[in-house]
Amino acid sequence: MDLINAVIVLLNYTIIPALTYGSQLALGAIFVTLIYGILRFANFATGDMMSFGTMFAVLLTYYFQSIGINFGFLPTALLTIPFAIFMMILYMLIIDQTVFKYYRIKKSPPVMLAMVSVGVMFVTQAIIRIIIGPTDRRFLDGEKFILKATEFKEMTGLAEGLTIKSTQMITIVVTIIVVAIMFWFLNKTKTGTSMRAYSDNEDLALLSGIDPKKVVLITWIIAGILATIGGILYGLDKSYRPFVYFNNMLPIFAAAIVGGIGNPYGAFFGGYVIAFAEIFLTYAYKRFLVYILPESLEPNSLMQLLSTDYKFAISFSILVIVLIFRPSGIFEGKRI
């Protein structure tokens, strides 16, 4: 009985939140890695692009709520995803045509493109703040919990409750669907194969008749879908605040590099590595240990390895360690 309680504690406070957070990071990390693999630069505007897509979801959610449209027990924001994705892709394509295209055709070094993306980051942040402002916004509606702690306790008769928030479930399910479709697309369709070929060897791909314009277009479309969905899921789960999205860029980068930049499978995996490390290292294990250890050994401190203040620092430290010992990432990097 104690063992089951201990497992429930772990599940409730570490594993489910880590899976949720990991999914959100994974979507962002695949976005980073796709841009890096095919367009060949580190996109410092990642966080703000995600924020840009989410902004439309927030505004449309408010609009839908005001005219009385809702999605039953699911959040209205899910309904707005197609519109938000459309706006996001439109914005990305405009940016690509006006800014990135010039450097791509000139074959500028990646650092130059990274610096340009810093400029895009500034502009995007300005647009977001001018349109929606820097304040914290919640746009979650519908049913908040799938399983409440009290219900779970009644059902099973255990001392510990298990809570599953609807946003956690939505995040995990949507991520699995999106990522599955994307991997199917990259591996099984002709366009996906041409994208992988372009990423592996640009010259060879061009020789074999792959249209670079089409590859770039498809890349931005996929990137737009990933960025918007990732952003909306994060916003639903926590809240929408432009500054936080900018900061999220850092763990997302960490996830992409840890997995091996340029490799979407690695990025997907890296998201969970970062999320699990952050949550497992900052969780106070006291309650868990109380259940599994005999009474004489019960800990009197919190049994926390690191204070939660260092949550971000952990993901960065993992990144630094990976960079020192395996610069190409856990999976071999630079492949799609």
Partner: protein, 456 residues
């Protein structure tokens, strides 16, 4: 002379803009902008040494700035004796353990062959060391933070003169740069950018959350100043006399003695703030000029030529027998140290240390925009970039307000779009700086004042 004509014109326009601010807004604001421009210029000089001379991309400027600021606290604040007596011994023991860990790891790395045994040994040392530190430091930290938490709750500093901390700030930053350089300099350019950015985040989060060190997000206020305090100036007779002499024409217009006294008081208050800022401006100017002379000399020395050779073709330079790794590390440390000095200058200027305010946007990306806009590889360009971008950054909101009012003049005051735009005027600075960066990168990628290579 002709070579320097564009530099002189660019700098004169910049000075004119600041003087215009002085005339239209106030001299106090103009001087505040000028001081911050100069601090930015020092940071830009540091970044320019790394990027312009050697092609190393360092997005960790925020971390070095924060360390420079920390140096001011650790050097100039008076020590807190109670905190030292409750936790000093333990903290010093921890410091000893860390030093011991470093040296024993170095010893093992040098004397034992590369093997699994060596890895286990090092891992063992680190784990044992961390556990020891946690056990020894844990209670001490709690006790230190309990000492009058509203005012101190930290160990305090050494109580030395604050100017000394500028050097210490540079040394701190150099120390960090040494570690970062050892770890990350082998990485490719964009990886290096990300790695340095994340390491800087780690440094800032440590400063933010280790309250015993510098009070963390509770901030340290009322730091020492190398300049007189406004309140002292306002009560000292020589200063009042000076203001009286300076404004005698204006004072003579007063009708009565009490009115004259009121005007004089107001003038003295204004003048004291201007005087303090002038003192800072003088000190910063000295630093900027010294750094400019040194960097200029270095750029055109054999060493500078070697750095450019390494930047332009690493393989060729290393084939000529130049030690690329060592030179990269050296220049990385040098540039970071200059940024550290700037960080210390900034905290001294503000008189307070607020770790919560160190954010990558303001302290990494804006500085990079300065380097790119000003001119990579040219010190005059870097300083100008610091001035131009900081000026835009500060004055963007008033400029944006002016244009919003101009374009929405036909709309009524209560129009929703107008109100919304006016409320979001502060965010136009991001737009201005971003578009500025994009335009410069597109149409003048070498910056306003491009790099000039003098051939002998």
């Amino acid at each position: 002379m002709r070579n320097y004509l564009n530099i002189i014109i660019a700098y004169s326009i910049m000075m004119l803009l600041i003087i215009l601010v002085g005339i239209f807004q106030s001299w106090s604001i103009a001087l505040a902008i000028f001081n911050y421009c100069m601090i930015s210029a020092v940071m830009t000089l540091g970044a320019n040494i790394q990027w312009g001379y050697a092609g190393l991309i360092n997005f960790g400027i925020m971390g070095y700035t924060a360390l420079g600021g920390l140096a001011v606290v650790l050097v100039s604040v008076a020590p807190v004796p109670e905190a030292w007596s409750v936790g000093g011994v333990n903290m010093m023991t921890c410091l000893g353990i860390i030093i011991l860990m470093i040296f024993s790891t170095r010893y093992i790395l040098k004397n034992i062959q590369k093997s699994n045994k060596r890895n286990y040994l090092i891992a063992g040392i680190i784990i044992v060391g961390l556990i020891l530190i946690k056990i020894i430091a844990g209670p001490a930290i709690e006790q230190i933070e309990a000492v009058d938490p509203a005012k101190t709750g930290f160990l305090g500093g050494l109580g030395l003169p604050v100017l000394f901390s500028w050097i210490v700030g540079g040394l701190f930053a150099a120390g960090l740069a040494f570690i970062v350089g050892k770890v990350a300099l082998g990485l490719r350019a964009d990886y290096l950018a990300i790695a340095t950015l994340l390491i800087a985040e780690i440094v800032v989060s440590i400063i933010k959350h280790e309250d015993w060190l510098a009070r963390g997000v509770k901030n340290v206020i009322g730091l020492k100043r190398p300049a007189p305090y406004e309140i002292d100036l306002q009560t000292s007779p020589w200063f009042i006399n000076l203001v009286e002499k300076f404004h005698s024409a204006k004072l003579d217009l007063a009708n009565s003695l009490s009115e004259r006294q009121d005007i004089l008081n107001q003038l003295v208050i204004d003048a004291s703030s201007v005087y303090v800022k002038l003192c800072f401006a003088g000190m910063f100017l000295v630093v900027v000029i010294i750094l400019l002379i040194i960097t200029q000399k270095a750029l055109y020395s054999p060493w500078g030529r070697m750095m450019r050779a390494i930047r332009d073709n690493e393989e060729a330079a290393s084939a000529m027998g130049k030690n690329v790794v060592k030179q990269h590390l050296f220049i990385f440390i040098l540039g970071s140290a200059i940024v550290g000095i700037a960080g210390a200058m900034m905290v001294t200027n503000d008189g307070l240390f607020t770790p919560g305010s160190y954010r990558p946007m303001r302290y990494t990306f804006v500085i990079w925009v300065m380097v790119i806009v000003g001119g990579t590889g040219n010190n005059f360009g870097a300083i100008l970039g610091g001035f131009v971008v900081w000026f835009l950054w500060v004055e963007a909101a008033p400029i944006a307000l002016f244009f919003i009012n101009l374009f929405t003049a036909h709309l009524p005051e209560t129009n929703e779009i107008k109100v919304h735009l006016i409320n979001s005027a502060p965010y136009f600075r991001f737009l201005l700086v971003g578009i500025g960066l994009l335009l410069i990168m597109r149409f003048r990628p070498q910056g306003i004042i491009p790099e000039k290579i003098i051939k002998q």
